[in-house]
Subunit: 332 residues, 2 copies
């Protein structure tokens, strides 16, 4: 098995560039973008129309955000790309360019790098995002940094635009990714059970909500973010940025059927990260329009004039719950 | 002394965001760019006019690209930003946005992170580049990744556009950074000697040639790149990408006075990296116009119909030289 050190960084870059070329990753879902110069020059170059551009970057480090023992390299690649795509979705944008930086130990099997990249390319094909460049560097542990550009059809969704009285909604079910992780940790692959399979798939190949984000933005919503660290934690952030409190109705949070077989399904929906659904807020009638346009999701609560950033969770009988699970912050 | 682990990544991000806010890094040298959303949302957002956009990314890893024993953190920060600014310069572009990802060991002194960031901010202020976001992650060794966007006033300079008969030129003196490194390695700080000081400054604070790149592009030049890994190596790359050979006249390569005091000054000019001057090619009269517009630099050779990528170096008497120093590739 050839290692990264055997092949050398220059040859490895050529090999990855060939993977990108073979995938013909030049189109985007957004017209008005034309790639002029791809991988191999000092920088990538494209023609872009005038508009509101968004840029985001996200890094995954081995031993911190993933371990090679528990995640196949392809899934790690998919997730590294999905996390950035989800940030673009959270602004209501369409992705137009991704740059990929890989930090690689010299002893790493080169086939692992191919698999990692194949996972990224799969996500880029699915969401039509050209890989326009990057960097490969020697490092003590594997890290993957994606820097992504996108463009919005209107003023982007921001975290700080919720007002008291706004409805708060999500674009789809929560907790599935965390539920899938729990199954995998218990040694269950989900094979043969449709509901369990859906959980495991949600964990291994989370789907950024790009189409939903654009629909929400077009519906007139101004406030939104993605749920990447858990609903409770992310809603607190949105509320804090907006200077509002929030009331969450636990019974209204959409989940997937498979969760009900796990102990304490609500904790997964409230605390589980990496679902990449969108959390958004706006006047009730605008939120209704947006949900109709998305064709999924639900209203789960409302913004209040309470202390900024404080989220109260209510049960089906309207009593405030004592919420122990507050999501996890990893190292963000 | 507080460490990164003591402070925690979230607090550290806030601290760095405060540094960026205090520096008021919102203007660019290029009109038509208006920052809408900076650090703190899912992504940064700005309004941008239609045009040709460029994007590049570059990473520095401790122990590979720098050591904290030999480089002050501020210089490391400056260089991380300068390398990316130089890639934008190499396209003939103006920078409009930088995203910074830091990989930090938990035990690292937090003051080191402040200094690293101060060096980046200094470069961003100098070249008017807003820092629009980034990521801070835990890692076994320090790494710094910058992802930068820019915009060009015309079709960008590319490596592949040289033709046989073109003049080859550089935008300024070469070898100064490598000369400065040699002095530092010999325990000399350059203090008190103007020529030595210039070498050390060139190594510690290399200046990306943004203004020169834009002038070269406006002069009608189509082919260019930056000299980041040494003239000989980078010229080979340009020649190979263009499908031409090249003849280099050693005596015409501009250098700085301080180099003459070092043994074998030509080896620094041919092999020394990180000068970040621009290397460009075009019809002789266009190159003359560009050099006039830049107000520095010189013609150093010409493109030939020889085997693509082969560079012959001639001495002052027109004899081919045997060139042992071929630049260094680090891990690019």
């Amino acid at each position: 098995m050839a290692t990264v050190g055997d092949i050398g960084e220059l040859a490895l870059v050529e090999r990855l560039a060939a993977q990108v070329a073979a995938a013909r990753l030049t189109r985007t879902a957004r017209p008005g973008f034309h790639l002029r110069i791809g991988i191999g020059d000092d920088a990538a170059a494209w023609y872009g129309e005038a508009g509101v551009w968004v840029a985001t970057t996200d890094t995954m480090v081995e031993g911190v955000h993933f371990t090679r023992e528990t995640s196949p390299w392809r899934d790690i690649g998919w997730k590294a790309m999905a996390a950035n795509l989800s940030d673009v979705a959270a602004m209501g944008g369409a992705p137009v360019s991704a740059m990929v930086t890989l930090g690689l130990p010299r002893g790493l099997d080169a086939a692992a790098v191919d698999d990692l990249y194949a996972g990224m390319i799969a996500a880029c094909l699915r969401y039509r995002t050209p890989i326009t460049g990057g960097d490969v560097v020697s490092a003590g542990e594997v890290f993957v940094t994606v820097a992504m550009m996108g463009i919005c059809g209107a003023e982007p969704l921001r975290r700080s635009a919720a007002r008291p009285g706004d409805s708060i909604a999500v674009s789809g079910p929560l907790g599935a990714s965390a539920g899938g992780l729990r199954l995998l940790q218990a040694g269950r692959s989900g094979a043969g059970d449709e509901e369990e399979e859906a959980l495991v798939r949600a964990h291994r190949r989370p789907e950024p909500q790009l189409e939903a984000g654009q629909r929400i933005l077009r519906s007139g919503i101004r406030c939104g973010m993605d749920v990447s660290d858990g609903l409770l934690l992310d809603l607190r952030r949105l509320a804090k940025a907006s200077g509002v409190g929030a009331r969450l109705e636990a019974a209204r949070i959409p989940t997937v059927p498979g969760l009900k077989a796990l102990p304490d399904p609500l904790s997964f929906a409230l605390g589980g990260g990496e679902d990449y659904q969108l959390l958004f807020a706006g006047p009730p009638q605008v939120v209704e329009l947006a949900l109709e346009s998305v064709g999924a999701g639900a209203v789960i609560g409302e913004a209040t004039p309470d202390e900024p950033g404080v989220v109260r969770v209510m049960d089906a009988e309207g009593r405030e719950m004592d919420v122990a699970h507050a999501g996890w912050e990893h190292l963000r």
